[in-house]
């Protein structure tokens, strides 16, 4: 077992505050679910929203059964090996089925609750990218794979006292890889999984015609998307503050500035995306602005508790400029059909946030620790997720058949649509 710094005992008031914040944090999941649904087509809306619910359920069950044991907790038993005289902790070795959870310390219980929410959000992110063609069963199965294998591995390395968390102790790289809110474990992992899904499922029919540019297939409900963004803000404020308490052991004085940084990052990103789309298209683009806002929130996830408000605004501005350009690049130049923009928003937004932690850190070596973490995500987790999803695709095919795609996922998979037909009633009062 690796000797890890023992977290200070948590006062009851801080425990109560953090628990309350974690009970608000699922609003992030609700916001992302609305955004995923709004950015898809109307004929797939019920399947999309049911898929969001089913994925949350699947991840919760699978993570409780095996994932939590492998994610482990800092300071508890783990699997490790020696390399170059240093211990490398690579997997947790906790009890299955949440054994011993009720007698764990308050800090451990909060950390586990945080991980339950984190794995659900990570698995929801690719669901939006596979909209209008990804089968419900395959979506749930892929969420189960993420919750059982991929997320626990990464969560142990980053949050469970694994080798990335120990880069500071073992190699003198700052405070080790820092990811207080899950920019790596949730958003980059989710964004890279979205890339794997898009590669495997392929583009929507008609998206890339034989001749000419790609076809625009706009989302069916901008109100869902924009309201989802507002809902996500509430969840994100709670999420980042709770993350700062649980993973950074931040004192109460740091918590208000963490919330302010979250808001500033999102605001800067929205302002930048609004300006970029207005300059490029003559008018601001609503769905692109939503993506910019979300990317600002994602970037804040890594760094909100560690930087100043001015730096948070700068991070948001950079993210907001990059997001619309990347969304366009993915679609027009790289032939990647990502309806929710999850790859640009979550993978790249998370990456920018993780880099910001290193760039604005005061400890020497922190930037290198962040780069090692990013290299791990790209070099291990993207190939791993792609391989696992390719294997899964053989058992549970990701893509719906062409007829199903034509009539819509609602009718094909659920047997009924999300919206009732318009019924015209005669208004008797005018007689």
């Amino acid at each position: 077992m690796i000797p890890v710094p023992i977290a200070p005992a948590m006062p009851d008031a801080i425990f109560a505050l953090t628990l309350a914040l974690l009970l608000l944090a699922p609003l992030t999941i609700a916001g992302i679910a609305l955004i995923n649904t709004g950015l898809g087509r109307s004929r797939s809306a019920a399947q999309s929203l049911l898929g969001n619910l089913a994925i949350v359920a699947a991840t919760a069950i699978v993570f409780a059964v095996v994932g939590a044991a492998w994610a482990g907790t800092a300071g508890f038993v783990d699997h490790s090996f020696q390399l170059a005289g240093k211990p490398w902790s690579w997997l947790g070795a906790g009890p299955l089925l949440l054994g011993g959870f009720s007698t764990a310390t308050p800090q451990t219980q909060l950390a586990l609750l945080f991980e339950f929410l984190a794995v659900a959000l990570a698995a929801l992110i690719p669901w939006g990218s596979g909209a209008d063609r990804w089968r419900l069963t395959a979506g749930c199965a892929s969420a189960a794979v993420l919750a059982a294998i991929v997320f626990p591995l990464l969560a142990h390395w980053v949050w469970g006292g694994g080798w990335l968390a120990q880069l500071g102790v073992n190699f003198g790289l700052g405070a080790g890889f820092q990811d207080a809110g899950g920019a790596a474990t949730v958003h980059m992992l989710g964004g890279l999984s979205a890339l794997a899904v898009v590669w495997i499922a392929g583009a929507r029919t008609g998206k890339f015609p034989k001749e000419g540019f790609s076809t625009a297939l706009p989302g069916h409900n901008a109100v869902y998307v924009l309201f989802g963004c507002l809902l996500a803000l509430v969840g994100w404020l709670a999420w980042n503050v709770a993350g700062a308490v649980i993973w950074l052991h931040a004192p109460p004085a740091v918590l208000p500035v963490t919330a302010i940084n979250t808001l500033l990052s999102a605001s800067g990103a929205l302002a930048a995306t609004f300006t970029v789309t207005r300059v490029r298209f003559g008018k601001p683009d609503a769905s692109m602005c939503a993506n910019g806002w979300l990317a600002g929130l994602v970037a804040s996830t890594a760094c909100a508790g560690l930087i100043t408000p001015g730096q948070a605004l700068f991070v948001g501005l950079v993210t907001g400029i990059a997001t619309p350009l990347l969304v366009e690049l993915m679609e027009l130049a790289l032939s990647i059909d990502d309806p929710s923009g999850a790859i640009s928003v979550h993978a790249v937004g998370g990456l920018l946030g993780l880099l910001a932690v290193g760039i604005f850190a005061s400890q020497p070596g922190q930037l290198l620790a962040q780069l090692v973490g990013i290299a791990t995500l790209l070099g291990v987790f993207l190939p791993l997720v792609y391989l696992l999803f390719r294997l899964l695709n053989r058992v549970a095919p990701f893509r719906v058949d062409p007829d199903g795609e034509r009539i819509g996922m609602d009718l094909h998979e659920l047997g009924g649509g999300a919206y009732p037909d318009f019924v015209i009633h005669r208004d008797e009062s005018y007689r």
Binding site: L83, A84, L167, F171, W199, G202, A203, F208, P209, K210, L334, S335, I336, P364, G365, L368, L371, V372, I374, A375, T376, L378, G379, V380, L382, P383, Y386, L387
Partner: protein, 60 residues
């Protein structure tokens, strides 16, 4: 081609790990970590290129 690109990416990761283990001095360690990231970037570029070629063929 996509698989080839994805196979190159872990090579970049092992280069990064090698930098941590083999180079205690900050400058060469940082240089090798950046080289590892560059290799991963190349692998990703090859994988994306493979995806674009596959899409181009499916359009015909």
């Amino acid at each position: 081609m996509k698989l080839a690109g994805l196979l190159v990416m872990p090579a970049g990761f092992f280069l990064t790990i090698g930098a941590l283990v083999l180079f205690p001095a900050p400058a060469p360690r940082a240089a090798f970590v950046i080289c590892g990231l560059a290799v991963e970037g190349l692998g990703l570029a090859v994988a994306v290129r493979g995806h674009m070629e596959a899409r181009g063929e499916s359009r015909l």
